[in-house]
């Protein structure tokens, strides 16, 4: 397991969790972080069932919705994957 201090915590809900088989992942990232785009590309490659879900999902970094995919995710961040909502 990577040390939390060097990693991003990825939180998975609903179909994303089922595709990965885990409610959360820790991913080590370099000190300068990683772009959202790169992070998603790597997750899709490692968990093929996750790929179509990611295309329909919203993302939340440290409690705020991510706008666009250029922004960076850094060590210590929490990055949540929100598949399409379906309450009610």
């Amino acid at each position: 397991m990577p040390k939390p201090g060097r990693s991003v915590r990825i939180v998975l809900f609903a179909s994303a969790r089922e595709a990965v088989g885990a409610a959360a992942l820790e991913r080590a990232v370099p000190e300068r972080g990683v772009s959202v785009e790169t992070l998603l590309r790597e997750l899709a490659r490692e968990y093929p069932p996750l790929a179509p879900i990611l295309r329909a999902s919203r993302f939340v970094r440290n409690g705020e919705y991510v706008v666009g995919r250029r922004g960076r995710v850094r060590r210590g961040d929490e990055f949540a994957i929100h598949p399409p909502y379906g309450g009610g």
Partner: protein
């Protein structure tokens, strides 16, 4: 306004009591119940509901504020049950009290539509979703690790 995400059963009678108030003559309640939908394995017996709690609560508060400002809702109940909910049980209650019924209807409709579309709550037809981490299929490469 009363906003709640809870594993406990929801009661429309309790919602009515939250919506009491002089001058508030019109109350509209929407209750969404778990339906026994057909799935690959047969009929759903229960659904499992989960939420990104802090974000869901924040968004519910925002929606209530908009219903109040834009539609004149005077009292609002936004309750969603989480966890495993058996078929027939209430999963969500949206309640609005207003001086007049038109506003209560408009607010309640707005709130349930927005709740479904914009609040991070999910349902799955598995009563107990996967919880244990699983190793990724391929070895992590480069800077990422599983």
């Amino acid at each position: 306004m009363s906003i709640r995400l809870s594993r406990r059963a929801l009661s429309v009678g309790a919602a009515m009591r939250e919506l009491e108030g002089d001058e508030l003559g019109g109350v509209v309640l929407f209750a969404g119940r778990v339906r026994p939908d057909r799935v690959a394995s047969g009929r759903v017996q229960a659904l499992f509901y989960e939420a990104d709690r802090p974000l869901a609560l924040r968004q519910l508060r925002r929606l209530a504020g908009t219903a109040r400002g834009r539609y004149g809702a005077r009292r609002i109940v936004l309750w969603h049950r989480l966890g495993t909910i058996p078929v027939g049980d209430v999963a969500v209650i949206v309640g609005v009290a207003s001086a007049h019924r038109a506003r209560a209807f408009e607010s309640a409709r707005y709130l349930i539509e927005e709740l479904k579309a914009t609040v991070p709550i999910w349902k799955t037809d598995r009563a107990r979703p996967a919880r244990r981490p699983r190793r990724p299929r391929s070895r992590p490469r480069g800077r990422s690790s599983g």
